[in-house]
Symmetry: C2
Subunit: 372 residues, 2 copies
């Protein structure tokens, strides 16, 4: 079997249904990738991930490089065996975490110098190093190292990041000889002409898939700006398109509508641990007193373990008592919500009814965001 | 079906094989009860408990009374439904936790006044209140309220506790009308004559089962003193005997040898969360550097989820990274160890080979305690 292929099987407007084949199995797109930062999606097993509907997981190169170290993971048989996930794995380049988590960063054309947030030790992440680490991990999809200016940046800074991202992508392309494939990343911030330049330069390198990076996340308002929408449309139709770090449920719907195929975000898992749950009735803050003696399931429309076996009153109790089981059940629920949402979108595209579903979902999600 | 029955099916020396029937199912004895303090055995689901081999769980009246409140549990259908455990549940009286956790305790013949360790609120636990709370929870086996002097106590204090325990046991016996049965508790500390007095007074009240309380736990040296051994022998042969809060694996073996049928202890679950794991090779401290790249399972003789799917290197990584999955897998492993140990003892009694197994286990466990 070849390392990688992607086939579009249906399209509805710009929304695409597809199937991505990797050395560790197939992924139906549009797909959401749960985030397993340190070689585990927090609080759940890989068997539970599968039951939630996950077909692919993302893991973070930066964290695994620092702890336990990519050599250790390689000695233990690679990341798939290490974490007991036989399916496809995508790893990021480590760059985003260096820019957002590490101390004392210094970027130059060679790479990024930084100090570990774990123990303060000094490291250099270069395009070559990122590819080496992701190869050791055994990723099915490795991401090239890009420069993603953190926070608000000037046009000049973003233009420089686009140039450097192209330069680094070329070096990644040259050295990568891992077990999977490497995807390119487009930068350019909110500037459409810089996005165009980045798309042109990165697609010239002919990667089997492309990501849209540098999209502001965690801020109020729509994540899927016209620029992102138009950037997605510039990317080759026959390659998967990945919108990194996105997002809220409404963002996913809008991005699929813009022709995006792949997503990852910590929101379902992080919110779960904070007691914020996504349901068909809107967001639920489980610690609210109104749930104290509530015998109903969190969401009567949800088939997950939490909704099948437990009451809201019990989930609230577990959360307030600080019990690990709260994090487990909430994570299973939120992942089921996200992965079911993706599945509904895939069915709607297949049935040529995506626009209807999109309007229905965005209408309801807008109302519910206000409630929460 | 009757609320409760107990039948001995084999005996080997003083060690007894039995079957205890409750309104929520049967329990093969000698049995170990995992501790579900706040309505969950920490880090695991009840389905996992079942897979680990648990037939009965213990829950703590004190904790559930304070949070979420026994009325809330009752409104939500009782503890079995609340925590999704359809099997037998034993609850303690709340007394031990009041004596060990609560602030500003004041004991008199009426009961114990105390302040909640959760929010400082004032409460009174009386024999009647304890029975009321355990009835609301729906326990299959409720424990009478006893006085258990914490820490080192004089003979005079222990003698007074024996008297008060008898007085309270009588009041519990009179008011209990719950869905299950109430067990009596014998006190008397290390004084054989006080134990004899307590056994005489408590058994006169004719409970369907008896516990030996006030056994010092968590201290070095053998838990199963000659006094405990002789106290067990004084209890009626046709009723289950429960050694509360015990203990280490070697303690369980010695206590079964003394004719004890029921145990509970936080050791397997608490140690799991601290990274101390029980294996057929002795105790393992998973954070040790020697396990860093160790591809072997924690215990190649163990059929649990942790040992089937994960390497020592991965478990060490999860533990050092503070991942919830470490607590989960370690808890499943340690409970499997404890519950398998009980099963081996039951088979040995049935096969009239308990003495052999006891000597083998105690020999190996002694060596291994020294290693750890």
């Amino acid at each position: 079997m070849s390392r990688f292929s992607f086939r579009r099987t249906a399209q509805c407007g710009a929304a695409r249904l597809g199937r991505m084949h990797t050395a560790h199995g197939a992924v139906d797109t549009p797909a959401f990738m749960p985030v397993g930062t340190q070689g585990t999606v927090k609080a759940v097993t890989t068997e539970e991930l599968r039951r939630c509907g996950a077909q692919i997981v993302l893991s973070n190169t930066y964290h695994l490089y620092l702890r336990p170290g990519h050599e250790v993971v390689a000695e233990l048989g690679g990341l798939h065996r290490f974490m007991n996930w036989p399916g496809p794995i995508l790893t990021d380049s480590g760059g985003f975490q260096v820019f957002s988590l590490a101390d004392l960063r210094r970027v130059d054309d060679e790479g990024v110098r930084f100090q570990s947030h774990v123990d303060g030790s000094s490291h250099v992440l270069t395009p070559e190093k990122s590819m080496e680490v992701q190869t050791a991990l055994g990723s099915d999809i490795a991401m090239v190292l890009d420069e993603c200016p953190p926070g608000p940046a000037t046009r000049e800074q973003i233009a420089a990041a686009v140039d450097r991202t192209t330069h680094w992508a070329r070096r990644c392309r040259e050295v990568y000889s891992g077990p999977g494939v490497a995807f390119g990343i487009v930068q350019g911030g909110p500037f459409l002409d810089l996005r165009e330049q980045s798309v042109r330069e990165i697609t010239e390198l002919d990667f089997p898939g492309y990501a849209v990076g540098g999209v502001s996340v965690g801020e109020p308002g729509p994540t899927i700006s016209p620029t992102v929408r138009r950037t997605a449309a510039m990317l080759p139709e026959d390659r998967p398109r990945y919108l990194m770090g996105v997002g809220k449920p409404a963002d996913l719907v809008q991005a699929v509508d813009a022709g995006i195929d792949l997503f990852d975000c910590v929101m379902p898992t992080r919110n779960a641990r904070n007691g914020t749950l996504f349901t068909s009735h809107g967001r639920v803050n489980i610690k609210r007193n109104e749930y104290r003696s509530d015998p109903r399931p969190l969401d009567e429309n949800c088939p997950c373990e939490a909704c099948t076996h437990y009451s809201r009153g019990y989930l609230r109790h577990l959360f307030l008592a600080g019990e690990i089981l709260a994090a487990r059940l909430h994570t299973i629920h939120n992942l089921t919500y996200y992965l079911s949402l993706m599945e509904r979108m895939r069915w709607a595209i297949a049935a040529s009814r995506f626009a209807e579903l999109r309007d229905e979902l965005l209408g309801r999600l807008a109302t519910r965001e206000e409630q929460s």
